[in-house]
Amino acid sequence: METDRLIRTLAADGAPRGMSMSRVWSLTALAAAAIAAAVFFMSIGPRGDIADAAHTIRFLFKFVVTLALFATAFAALRGLAIPGVNPARAMAPLVLAPALLLIAVGLELLAIPPSQIESRWIGSNALICMTFIPMIGIGPLAAFLFALRNGAPTRPSLAGAVSGLVAGGLSATFYAAHCTDDSPLFVATFYPLAVAILVVAGAVAGRFVARW
């Protein structure tokens, strides 16, 4: 088939256009949040003293970090799905959540006596954290990877990895309502390790799922 024939054929197929990207992303985010909520409430659920915890700054700050991760990674993912958008520029906002967390770690180290550092750092939920953040996040990860197929990521592995960050941010937001280890020392250690599992899974899956 010669190229001018192909062009005529493509022009004849002009009418049907898929759902707009922003609609797909909104629906996907809603579906992902519903999946995460379902898994969370059917498995570990919120901690018993959540009403009291909600008055403490360390507990609340966990949500600032996890929601910052979710929002910035979601924005980056939407950029990575569009050809011609500079990946480095799309991913620049991702520094926000780690920066917030580092500042909180610094303040925590100033606020607590050295004798307490180790117990707050290691906490008592490390294994639960590293199990349930990936578990709550795996469904949302699949949803974001699937939505990526509607886009056109020119770096499929990278876009898959960032899908893992989005799913991780969402999942960690739910998990944070369960966990009683509120110190930024704990959050800065075990949350990233747990999210990294989703990032690696997303990068590997992205190579296959997000091809086009």
Binding site: M1, R5, L6, L10, D13, R17, M19, P83, T154, W212
Partner: protein, 178 residues
């Protein structure tokens, strides 16, 4: 490409996504020329026909045109797709060549020449489901309109449009994979 041409390209694509079929054909024609130049400059080894890259890129542009933001210039979007398809082809061809080399040194060269004589798009078209193939061939090879194709194949126009769109998506998926 100067600023005026770039603005014209963007204008045509914007008209195309608003449903102007003639503007869309003109846009694709200009895009084909740009991608052809791009591919010819970058393909230095044998075994890859630049025209295959042009056609695969046009298909990708067509199926992914909802990813273009109407407030952005068209050229960077277009070249990013062309670059992605070119790199993807280098990767696939490289892998195919490795396999051929490992198995038998002698057949590698002549097989490469045979491949070059047939367009990738025709090979993808040949393995479509019969219904889709009849519709796509009628429009592309025979040059019939949607209405003429519907009459000839005894289908409704809606069914022809659906089969054409699915056929083109299937061709894009099969491109260079067989």
């Amino acid at each position: 490409m100067d600023g005026r041409e770039e603005a014209e390209l963007t204008r045509l694509l914007r008209a195309a996504v608003e449903g102007d079929e003639a503007a869309y054909a003109k846009f694709l024609d200009k895009a084909a020329g740009l991608v052809r130049g791009f591919a010819r400059r970058r393909i230095t080894q044998g075994g890859i026909d630049p025209e295959d890259i042009v056609q695969e890129t046009l298909l990708a542009i067509h199926l992914k045109r909802h990813t273009w933001r109407t407030d952005a210039p068209a050229a960077p979007w277009l070249y990013a797709i062309a670059r992605f398809k070119l790199i993807d082809t280098f990767r696939k061809t490289g892998r195919r060549m490795e396999v051929t080399m490992d198995e038998d040194f002698d057949v590698a060269a002549p097989e490469g020449e045979e491949q070059a004589s047939e367009r990738e798009i025709d090979r993808a078209l040949a393995v479509l489901a019969p219904g889709q193939r009849a519709v796509v061939s009628s429009v592309s090879v025979d040059g019939h309109s949607i209405g003429e194709t519907a009459t000839k194949l005894g289908m409704t126009e809606v069914a022809v449009r659906v089969a054409l769109h699915r056929g083109l998506s299937a061709i894009a998926r099969k491109f260079g994979r067989n």
